[in-house]
């Protein structure tokens, strides 16, 4: 498979202006998505890792009603068990928002759910189960909508289960279109993790994590394994999106994970967090219009390895939620000067916390707990929940909790919003 992915389609959309940044919905979504939620989200879908001894022990998509005033507000209203424990991890909508792709990092299966027909009861419509054999890569992590395509960032490869990997392009029907290796020259380490596109600039950023051996390994063992600790990504890559060619490799030490572009008009910068080095990094053009990456803030006390994981940027790019897994704390950073973010608020969410999602208006913030099955804490500290909060600009106030252990569900990981009454975004 050597054809370039949807170049013509991308060009047409870029030139036609259909890429105008979304002014609704979650701030981490692909700018190529339509059908965005304006206003109140109605359902949360949580991609949940099966856990031995908890319920049926199987990975599942869990749907929770979050309509205020609903009789089932804050309750589980639907689940689909997909069978087995394959390290359920992240999800992403197709560009038409009708389908939700959900990946597993262990057995590399991708499950495609219909969430457009009736978002309260998603249906599994297809399983892609040949990713490793058809591409050589394993660990489908990020699912990022392109026009008529789904761009998937893998984490590892089937040759040595290390971190050298690539991008995979599928069409919306789940058929393989092409693969693109992560760069190994000009400073590239070949690793991958997240994808974030700035269509106005024709730029795509990717970040880097680690391979199967490390993300599947017990975290305590990993941090004491000198051979394994060498195998983390330390780069980000700026790509020419239309050409799908790497333009520049940035040195970003310590596993830079989630990437968020500022969505404020005219703000051409992105931010990420280095998980191991506990730093925020800014990716921005310098005075000569050259893209650069630099550390701009510490997250907590880096000597204690707080492990910043998911981040969520506000729609006006004025603030950033940063979760630190090890102390279970959500931290809010003021980004009014992105060159010098400052922590202005913190709240302990639980013994551990990983993912954070906020509504477009920032008034609702949701948190889940699981990082990776063998990285999650043990025994009593292995809390597994979804918590919904209201944010008034000063304080997080808890609205509801779904205890994923008491409900017999497993480990709560990635969240995505849907709504029955969603409207297509005007161009």
């Amino acid at each position: 498979m050597k054809s370039l992915p949807s170049r013509a389609v991308l060009c047409a959309l870029l030139l036609g202006g259909a890429f105008a940044p979304a002014i609704a919905d979650e701030t981490c979504n692909s700018p190529f998505m339509s059908g965005l939620i304006k206003g109140q989200e109605q359902y949360l879908h949580v991609w949940t890792l099966g856990e031995k001894g908890v319920g049926d022990g199987s990975d599942k998509l869990v749907t929770i009603d979050v309509v205020p005033g609903s009789a089932t507000y804050g309750k589980v209203i639907h689940t689909i068990a997909v069978g087995g424990r394959g390290e359920a991890h992240h999800m992403g909508f197709t560009d038409d928002r009708k389908y939700l792709w959900a990946g597993r990092l262990d057995d590399s299966k991708i499950f495609i759910f219909d969430v457009g027909s009736d978002p309260s009861t998603p249906k599994l419509v297809k399983t892609v189960d040949n990713l490793a054999e058809s591409t050589g890569y394993v660990g489908p992590h990020t699912f990022y909508a392109l026009p008529g395509r789904m761009l998937v960032q893998a984490l590892s490869n089937k040759k040595d289960h290390g971190g050298v990997t690539g991008l995979i392009t599928y069409n919306n029907a789940g058929e393989l279109v092409t693969t693109t290796p992560m760069p190994l020259n000009d400073g590239g380490d070949g690793y991958g993790y997240d994808i974030a596109i700035n269509p106005a600039q024709n730029r795509m950023l990717t970040s880097s994590f680690t391979g199967w051996t490390n993300y599947m390994m017990d975290l305590s063992q990993l941090i004491q394994d000198d051979s394994a600790m060498k195998n983390f990504g330390n780069t980000m890559v700026m790509w020419d999106l239309k050409a799908m060619k790497p333009l520049k490799v940035f040195s970003v030490p310590g596993a830079p994970l989630e990437i968020r572009w500022a969505l404020k008009p005219g703000a051409n910068w992105a931010i990420t967090a280095g998980a191991l080095t506990s730093k925020l990094y800014l990716i921005k053009q310098d005075d000569k219009n050259e893209w650069q990456a630099k550390a701009v803030a510490d997250v907590g006390d880096p000597s204690k390895i707080p492990l910043p994981v998911d981040i969520s940027i506000s729609s006006d790019a004025s603030s950033l939620w940063v979760n630190t897994f090890m102390d279970g704390t959500a931290r809010l950073f003021d980004l009014s000067n992105p060159e010098a973010p400052k922590q202005v608020y913190a709240k302990k969410i639980g013994a551990q916390v990983n993912m954070v999602s906020q509504s477009w208006d920032g008034k609702r913030v949701y948190f889940t707990t699981s990082l990776l099955a063998n990285w999650d804490k043990k025994n009593a500290d292995n809390e597994q929940f979804l918590k919904g909060y209201s944010w008034d600009g000063k304080e997080l106030r808890e609205d509801f909790v779904v205890d994923f252990h008491k409900e017999g569900l497993g480990r709560a990981h990635h969240m995505k919003f849907t709504a029955r009454a969603q409207k297509a975004e005007a161009p």
Partner: protein
């Protein structure tokens, strides 16, 4: 140096140019193991193989002949190679033999100290290299298996490795498979896919993973003195002399397997059990952090205890004892020791120079060596030539 799957021709003189220690050499010149099953297996192999095909693997300079019964036929080895790399042989389609025995990493794994198995479960030991495994009399770090074809089923059935819940379903699937069914039938006429033929096919592939005929062999067994540098020769002299390495990593007059086919307590396991507390952790290149593992809540590794050969024999003298690994291609297969606790060959030499890890069952051959820095460096360089 040669890493030659399949046909290899001996092309240089076999007489050693020097005189490595001769007395303790034990070469696998006959099939491994014994018993009626072994005889029946040999007869079955001869029936369907024939002498010419069985002799197809020819050892390079410095290695003994590959036992014909393990070598199998070219068809078996091709089938074995396919099986070796096939992830669908594990319960969830994630792990193949090659995921822990990675060809580019000395058929071991540089990825981690301990192997990672089904659903990320941590195994107790480091994946050993498969170079020259056809000559090993005792397989696994604790030597609990003696038959290479039977060994295959250990990882296939272990719940924390490849996780197959039973033998029958896997064999039935292979028989019904449009590719495997005919391949098994062609490789094992009249037998097809069985528990035994699957093991024999993979063993046949592994038997061809020969590492020999390299600079060391040309220098020591081929009379080509210039094949090793002066520093490597110095390392060799130390290896067979002052450092005492060859007492366990044995060299013979015509071949060298670098193992005494036995097991020893070097103190690594005992020492490993005593570690903990603060440790220096590399968070990124050049970013080192002294981390109190317990203080950040990561003290529970869940790593089970490991007392080595003692678990097999119940003999107190075997406590914390592990088989002597072969050393061909050793520079490729870091980290080292049964638990991967030593990252580099320099650390290994340093460990032995310090007299190993003191414990009640320490092998008497392990003693402080008094090596100079130059001598230690020379041994490391020599090992790199194997």
């Amino acid at each position: 140096m040669s890493v030659l799957p399949f046909a290899i021709r001996r092309s240089a003189a076999t007489k050693p140019s020097r005189s490595p220690p001769p007395a303790t050499l034990r070469v696998a010149t006959s099939p491994q193991g014994g018993g009626i099953a072994r005889v029946l297996q040999a007869l079955a192999l001869l029936f369907c193989v024939g002498h010419a095909a069985a002799e197809d693997i020819q050892s390079p300079l410095g290695l003994p002949p590959v036992p014909a019964m393990v070598a199998g036929t070219p068809a078996m080895r091709r089938l074995g190679e396919k099986l070796f790399f096939d992830r669908s042989l594990s319960a969830n389609g994630t792990l193949s033999c090659a995921m822990c025995h990675i060809p580019a990493q000395g058929f071991a794994s540089n990825q981690s100290a301990l192997s990672i198995g089904m659903e990320g479960r941590s195994l107790r030991r480091n994946a050993p290299s498969l170079y020259n495994v056809a000559f090993k009399k005792f397989l696994f770090h604790d030597g609990r298996e003696t038959d290479l074809a039977a060994q295959v089923w250990g990882p296939l059935l272990a719940a924390d490795e490849m996780g197959n819940s039973g033998i029958g379903p896997l064999i039935a699937r292979l028989r019904a498979d449009v590719e495997y069914g005919p391949l098994f039938e062609a490789s094992f006429p009249g037998e097809g896919a069985t528990m035994m033929t699957l093991g024999r096919a993979i063993a046949a592939y592994e038997a061809a993973l020969l590492r020999g005929g390299g600079r060391f062999d040309r220098a020591v067994y081929g009379g080509e003195r210039a094949a090793l540098t002066p520093q490597e020769w110095k390392g060799y002299e130390l290896f067979i002399g002052k450092a005492g390495c060859a007492a366990c990593h044995v060299l013979g007059p015509e071949t060298a397997l670098f193992t005494d086919q036995s097991w020893h307590n070097t103190g690594v396991a005992f020492r490993s059990g005593a570690t903990g507390g603060k440790r220096l952790v590399q968070l990124a290149p050049g970013v080192l952090q002294n981390v109190d593992i317990a203080a950040i809540g990561l003290a529970q590794t869940g790593a089970p205890n490991d007392v080595g050969r003692f678990e097999i024999t119940n003999a107190p003298t075997d406590r914390w004892a592990y088989t002597t690994p072969m050393l061909r291609g050793v520079s490729e297969s870091s980290p080292y020791m049964h638990d991967g606790s030593l990252r580099t060959l320099a650390e290994v030499i340093e460990f032995y120079d310090g007299g190993g890890g003191a414990n009640p069952s320490l092998d008497p051959k392990i003693r402080p060596l008094g090596l100079t820095p130059d001598e230690k460096a020379a041994i490391v360089v020599f090992l790199g030539a194997l």
